[in-house]
C-alpha cells in the first residue's frame, strides 16, 4: 500500500514542477485536474477500503478532479482569457525556487517526529512541497485565474497532509470543507468575470488603485 501511495505522491511532485514551468493556461488547469484526481485516490491507498474512505475519495474526485476544473475551463471560455500565463517572474527562477522549497520540505519533515507506520511515507514532505508550490504560483503569476490555480494546489497540499489523520476529521466536516472549497472557487470565478468586465483584462497587476 505504502509503495503505491509513495509513487502517487512522487507523481504529485512532478506535476508541481510541471505547473511551475508551463506557460499554457489550458495545461495549468488540466494539471490541477489530474493532481486533484490523483490525490483523491490517496484515502483508499492510505487507509484501505471503508465507507468513510470511499466517500472521501469519490467526493474529492468529483470536486477536485471534475467540478472545479470544469468551472475554470468555462471561465476561460466565457471570459476570453488569452492563453499565456504571463508570469511576473521568469519560469526558470520560479522553478529554481520550487526546487529549493521542495528540498526544504523534505529536510524540515525529516526533523519532525513521526509515528512508526508513517515514517516510510512521503505524505508530510509532499504535502508541504505542494503547499509551497501553490504559494509560489499565488505570488508569481499575473493572471487572476492562475492565482485560483495556486490556491487549489495549496489546498491539495493540505489535503495530502490530512490523509494521515482521516480519523480526526468526521465525515460531515470533510464534506463541508470540500463544499466550501467549491463555493470559494465559484465566487472567485464570478469575481473574475467582473474584473474582466471592468478592467478588460484579468491581469491582477491592473488592480493597483487601492494602495497607500
Amino acid at each position: 500500500m505504502n509503495n503505491t501511495a509513495n509513487l502517487l505522491l512522487l507523481l504529485v511532485v512532478l506535476l508541481n514542477f510541471f505547473l511551475l514551468g508551463t506557460s499554457r493556461l489550458g495545461s495549468n488547469i488540466r494539471t490541477v485536474a489530474i493532481q486533484g484526481g490523483l490525490i483523491s485516490l490517496l484515502p483508499l491507498l492510505a487507509h484501505g477500503l471503508s465507507s468513510h474512505t470511499l466517500f472521501l475519495a469519490v467526493a474529492a474526485f468529483l470536486f477536485k478532479g471534475i467540478a472545479i476544473p470544469y468551472l475554470l475551463f468555462r471561465a476561460v471560455r466565457q471570459v476570453h482569457i488569452s492563453r499565456e500565463v504571463e508570469p511576473l517572474f521568469g519560469y526558470v527562477p520560479t522553478l529554481i525556487l520550487g526546487t529549493l522549497a521542495t528540498a526544504a520540505s523534505f529536510i524540515f519533515s525529516d526533523r519532525l517526529p513521526m509515528i512508526a507506520e508513517h515514517s516510510q511515507t512521503l505524505f508530510v514532505p509532499v504535502g508541504l512541497a505542494t503547499l509551497a508550490t501553490g504559494f509560489l504560483l499565488l505570488i508569481t503569476r499575473r493572471k487572476a485565474i492562475i492565482q485560483v490555480v495556486g490556491y487549489l494546489i495549496f489546498e491539495n497540499g493540505i489535503f495530502i497532509f490530512g490523509m494521515l489523520l482521516t480519523e480526526a476529521m468526521p465525515l460531515m466536516v470533510e464534506a463541508l470543507v470540500l463544499l466550501d472549497l467549491l463555493v470559494a472557487v465559484f465566487i472567485m470565478v464570478i469575481v473574475m468575470h467582473q474584473i474582466k468586465r471592468e478592467f478588460s483584462t484579468i491581469n491582477i497587476d491592473q488592480l493597483t488603485s487601492l494602495k497607500e
Binding site: L112, Y151, G162, D180, I195, L207
Partner: protein, 481 residues
Amino acid sequence: MENNLIALILLLPFSGSLLALILPSNRFRPWLLPIFGTLHLVLTFIVIQAGPLSAANGWLGVDPLSRLVLLIISLLFCGCSFYALGYLRYRISWGNRVFVSCLLLFLASMTLAAISRHLGILWVAVETTTLASAPLIYYNRNRLSIEATWKYLLLSSVGIALAMLGMFFIAYAALVAGGQVSLQFDDILQGAATYSRPWLKAGFIFLLVGFGTKVGFAPLHTWKPDAYGEAPGIVGALLAGGLTSVAFLGLLRTLQIMDAASEAAMAREAFLALGLISMAFAAAFMVRQPDFKRMLAYSSVEHMGIIAIGISMGGIATYGAMLHLMYNAMTKGVLFLSAANIHRRFGSKKVDDVRGAITLVPLSSLLFLLGFIAITGSPPFAPFISEFTILQGIFSTGHYITGGLFLFFLAVIFIGMGTTVLSVVFGTPSENAGDKDYRETFTTTGAPLIMLLILLVLGLYLPDSVRHIFIDAAALLEVRP
C-alpha cells in the same frame, strides 16, 4: 431543551437567509433583517441566561467565551439591521436579494463559529464567513470594490487554509503522543499536556498566521483597508466589529490549547509581538491618512493589537481585553455607520473633498466625532475603561517598555486620527457632487446613536450581571497552575 436552543439560534438566521432568496419584493425584503436580527438578539439573551449548553456529541456548545462573542455579534447585527432599512431604501434600484441573503448567512456562520466546539466545525464556519461577506463587499459594483473583493477573498482563503494545516498539526501531535486523535475541543484540552511539542508548536504558528490574517494583525492586514474602505458602511461595521471578534475567538481557542499544554508562555509572547507590530503599523498609516474610511480600517488593526497585548499580559489585562473586544465592536459600529452617512452626502471619502460635514449632516458628524473620542479611549465612554484596565495590567506586571510603547502609539494615533476627523467635521462645507437630496433620518442615525448611548452607559456603570460575562470569559484564558 438544550439541543433545541442551540439548533434554534443556528437555524434562525439560516432560514432567514433562505427566505430572503425566495421573497420577491425588493421593498419588503430588507424588513427581514431587523426581524431576524431582533429575534437573534432575544435568543442570544436566552442562551446567555441558560448557562453551559452542549449539543451534537459535544461538537456544539456554549461556554463563557461563546457567550461573549455571541453577545457582541448579535448586538452589533441587530443595530446594523435597523440601519440597513434606511440604507437599502436609498439603494432600492440596485436590488437587494443577494445582499440581504448574504447578510443573514453571514450572521448564521458567525453564530456557528461562536458556538462550535470542534476545530473542524470552527474552520468551516470561519471560511463560510469569508464566502458570505465577499458579495457584501462587492455591493457597490465598481472597479475599486472588485479589487477589494478579490484581495479579501484570496488572502482570507489562503490564510484560513493555513489554519486548517495548523489544526492537522495539532491532531498529529496527539497521534505521536499515542493519545486519542480528535479535533473535538474538550478532547484536545484534556490530552494537550501529553502532545508532541514540535507538532504542537508548529501547529500553533500556522493557527496564529491563519486566524491572524482573518483578524487582520499587521503585517497580515493588507486586505483590510481595501475591504473596509470599499464595502458599504454597514458591511464595514459588521466586518470590523463582528468578523474580527469571531476570528479572535479562533485565536483564543488556540491560546486555550496552548494553556492546557503548559506552552502558554510562547503563545503570549507571539500575541505581544503581533500586538505591538499592529499598533506600530496603524500609527504609521493613520497619520495624514487621506481617506477617512481607510483610517477606520487602520484603527481596527490598532485595536486588534490592543486586545492581543491585553491577552498577552494575563491577569487583569485579559479582563480588559475581553471588555475591549465588545467595546471596540460597538464603537466601530458607531464610526462606520456615521462615516457612511457622511460619505453618502458628500459622494467622497477623501479628506480633501469632505469638509464642514457638521453643517450638512449634523447628527452623523456629531456621532462620528464622539465615536472618535470614544475609540481613542477618552472618558466617559466605555473604551476608556477597557484600555485603562489593559494599561493597568501592563504596568502592574512590570512591563514598562511595553507600557511606554503602548502609550506612545496611542498618542500618535490620537493626533493622527484627530487631524483627519476634525478636518472632516469642521470648517467651511465643501460643495461638490455628492447626493444633495440626502437628509438624515432616524433610520440612518438611530442605530449608531443607540450604540453610542450603550457605550456611554457601560462607561459610567457596568452592572454585575454583565460584568460576569467578561469575568467568566477572561477566566477561561488564565493559566491554570
